[in-house]
Subunit: 230 residues, 2 copies
């Protein structure tokens, strides 16, 4: 139950750990695990008490909630993000489940060590807070979009943000459409209809490729809420 030396190199470089003292970092790694998961692996389950802080080192993770067998995706995390921070900090049951969306590498740090190190090392505390704040802002944006935009508008904004991040007008869907639909708070059917509707507003979709053909028209349609990011 410890992370091999060779692997600590890349972890050490992460913003969360970069500023830590060598000693605390080594101690933490000694009690942590770097695990590889296949796609669709269940990592944690809603309602359980958190044993570990998780760091997405590689791959992608779906954070979702369940009710009566129905799922809704609350956030999708890519490297380098942390999850179950809030539950770990408060030592309360997790509000969401997590599963990998693709083969992934996840660093698992025992909750106890996280809390202990937090007390001792301001740099680490700072990193934790920054991540937690990022997650908080992310959910807040999702909620705002859910409440104030139609499904098609949410998709339009997501496409604009994805294109902006990609730096090009054409990009690949990083995940299944049904999953994206869930993240955007709609059914797969609604996603399908929404993307069709956007064809009239400067979007083209074929297979897993999405192309923004008229950015200004799309922007006009999307009427983004400020602080867009997703």
């Amino acid at each position: 139950m410890s992370v091999r030396l060779a692997e600590t190199q890349s972890i050490r470089a992460l913003p969360l750990f970069k500023e830590m003292s060598e000693q605390n970092f080594a101690a933490m790694m000694d009690l942590s695990m770097l695990q590889r998961f296949p796609a669709r692996a269940e990592i944690i389950r809603e309602g359980e008490l958190p044993d570990f802080l998780h760091v997405v080192v590689e791959g992608a993770v779906d954070l979702f909630a369940t009710r009566d067998g129905v799922e809704t995706t609350i956030d999708i995390l890519y490297p380098i993000s942390i999850f179950i921070v809030a539950a770990v900090v408060r030592d309360e049951p997790q509000l969401k489940s997590a599963r990998t969306l693709m083969p992934s590498q996840i660093l698992m740090v025992p909750s106890q060590i996280v809390r202990a190190t937090f007390e001792r090392e301001a740099a680490f505390a700072h990193g934790i807070v920054a991540e937690l704040a990022a997650r908080y802002r992310s959910v807040t944006r999702v909620l705002k979009n859910d409440r104030m935009l139609t499904a098609t508008e949410r998709l339009a904004n997501w496409i604009l943000n994805s294109a902006r991040r990609a730096g090009r007008d054409e990009f690949e869907l990083p995940i299944e459409k049904r999953k994206l639909a869930s993240y955007l708070g709609m059914t797969p059917e609604s996603y399908s209809r929404a993307i069709t509707a956007l064809e009239s507003y400067g979007v083209h979709s074929r297979g897993t490729t999405i192309t923004v053909t008229d950015r200004s028209r799309l922007t006009e349609f999307a009427r983004p809420i400020l602080n867009a990011d997703d």
Copy 2:
């Protein structure tokens, strides 16, 4: 621009500050302000950079987002809660506006001091993180409810939680109905219809008083998502 000595007593007792060193606490108070606001006072506005961390010492604060003049309430804070934590930590624009819901007392700590003290004092850092985590979990719950429950179910759950917190089956609405409706992600009209619908499931509403007349029936209807809290 500093908090008077007499007033620091009660602030000092807050979980966030309780564990701090006397010196750091005094320094922080010296640069902070304890302000009284009337009801409906605008405290901060969405999109601005945060100058202060705010602590609700007394009263209640509405955190809301706006788009095209339409508002939606994202969270409602009572003492003792902190707000704009995430924006302060990351020094990024605020995602929501805030206004008082009633005459309130708010402690304002300059962002800079917050960040500086955070680095120096683990106890304070711990308090900040606990609060931020609480806020995060709160929004997460709201999002889950929004996505997986109907408006009437959300209201039913809110009533159950309120009654539980009150410790009695009868309690007073702490805020205007229209504001509660917004917090629950619905229009005032929908709230009105939802509360009427709940009369058949063990709820009675007259004026600002709500009475749970049949808790088990209401619970059955609400089918709460675990980790209820609101």
